[in-house]
């Protein structure tokens, strides 16, 4: 191969390498931008604080989560709240734990509902879809 041919092949290789780097960087940035991970973590932390706030409320109360959370499924139990996108792996679930006073019960499952409410009735905290009046 002559010298000119070699330098063209090298130049094509270099170009491909640069394109590869740009593509990888764009991939990382796009994955981050499209990801629900940040929103999911924010929602789970908000929910945990809402549960603690409801525990500290002497009477009955209802709190509606102010934004659309239809992309998530949520499970509330006595120890934790779990938020996930349907079908995703265990590792990607967002979980926050809390400590309820003795006698308190936390429960509820919501699947891909836009408006979600936390209701406290006596010693029971329930996660459910909001009714039309509540949202």
């Amino acid at each position: 191969m002559n010298k000119k041919g070699e330098s063209i092949i090298l130049m094509i290789g270099e170009l491909l390498a640069v394109i590869g780097v740009i593509f990888m960087t764009m991939q990382i940035a796009t994955r981050f931008a499209k990801s629900d991970a940040v929103v999911k973590l924010q929602v789970v932390q908000d929910m945990e604080m809402m549960v603690n706030a409801l525990v500290g409320e002497p009477g009955d109360a209802i709190v509606a989560y102010p934004t659309d959370v239809s992309m998530f499924s949520m499970i509330l139990t006595n120890e934790k709240i779990t938020i996930m996108v349907k079908g995703e792996s265990e590792l990607k679930k967002a979980i926050e734990t809390f400590n309820l006073p003795e006698g308190f019960v936390a429960q509820g499952v919501v699947e891909e509902k836009a408006k979600v409410c936390l209701e406290k009735k006596k010693e029971v905290i329930t996660l459910r879809e909001c009714t039309k009046d509540e949202s």
Binding site: A17, A37, V38, M49, N52, V55, P58, P101, E102, F104
Partner: protein
């Protein structure tokens, strides 16, 4: 290939080895920056988290809030001194016995009543303090007091010596 051509190829190979190493570092740094940015976006002040938890101490009868048994009325921000015990605090808030030190733990002090109780995984590591003005019911009298909440935010896991 002549000597000059071989030298060019070798030079470019070295250049791309160095460039590849630098590019890999840049991509890694970019990934870490995004991860760091993500954790900053989801950061919640521990003081705020603790504030929501400590609401219960002076507000609900299952903790220390005074409840009039005749009327059933709960007096928020009024602490029944009879309830202000370690056992009551355990039923109001306790963390997991084994690894609960990684969670919020509290030392509660009633300043004027001179009483102090703490949660089951509290180890005298006060990260911050909250002050709440309360009334204290002692027998038939109500007195103004300050509930001081010393907050132990987190104790990291102790390192295990593999030789032990």
């Amino acid at each position: 290939m002549n000597h000059k051509g071989q030298f060019d190829v070798a030079r470019k190979t070295i250049f791309w080895m160095i460039a590849g190493f630098l590019i890999a570092i840049i991509i890694l740094a970019f990934t870490f920056t995004i991860a760091d940015y993500r954790s900053k976006l989801t950061y919640v002040l521990p003081q705020m988290k603790a504030e929501f938890i400590t609401l219960r101490f002076a507000n609900i009868p299952q903790c220390f809030a005074y409840k009039d048994d005749l009327t059933g009325r709960v007096y928020s921000s009024t602490i029944d001194l009879e309830k202000f015990t370690k056992e009551r605090l355990f039923s109001c808030y306790h963390t997991e016995p084994k690894e609960g030190y990684q969670d919020f733990n509290f030392r509660l002090v009633l300043k004027n009543a001179n009483k102090e109780i703490f949660t089951n995984n509290y180890f005298n590591k006060d990260d911050f303090t909250q002050f709440k003005r309360v009334l204290v019911k002692d027998g038939d009298s109500f007195k103004e007091d300050t509930l001081i909440v010393y907050v132990q935010q987190y104790i990291s896991k102790p390192e295990v010596n593999p030789l032990q």
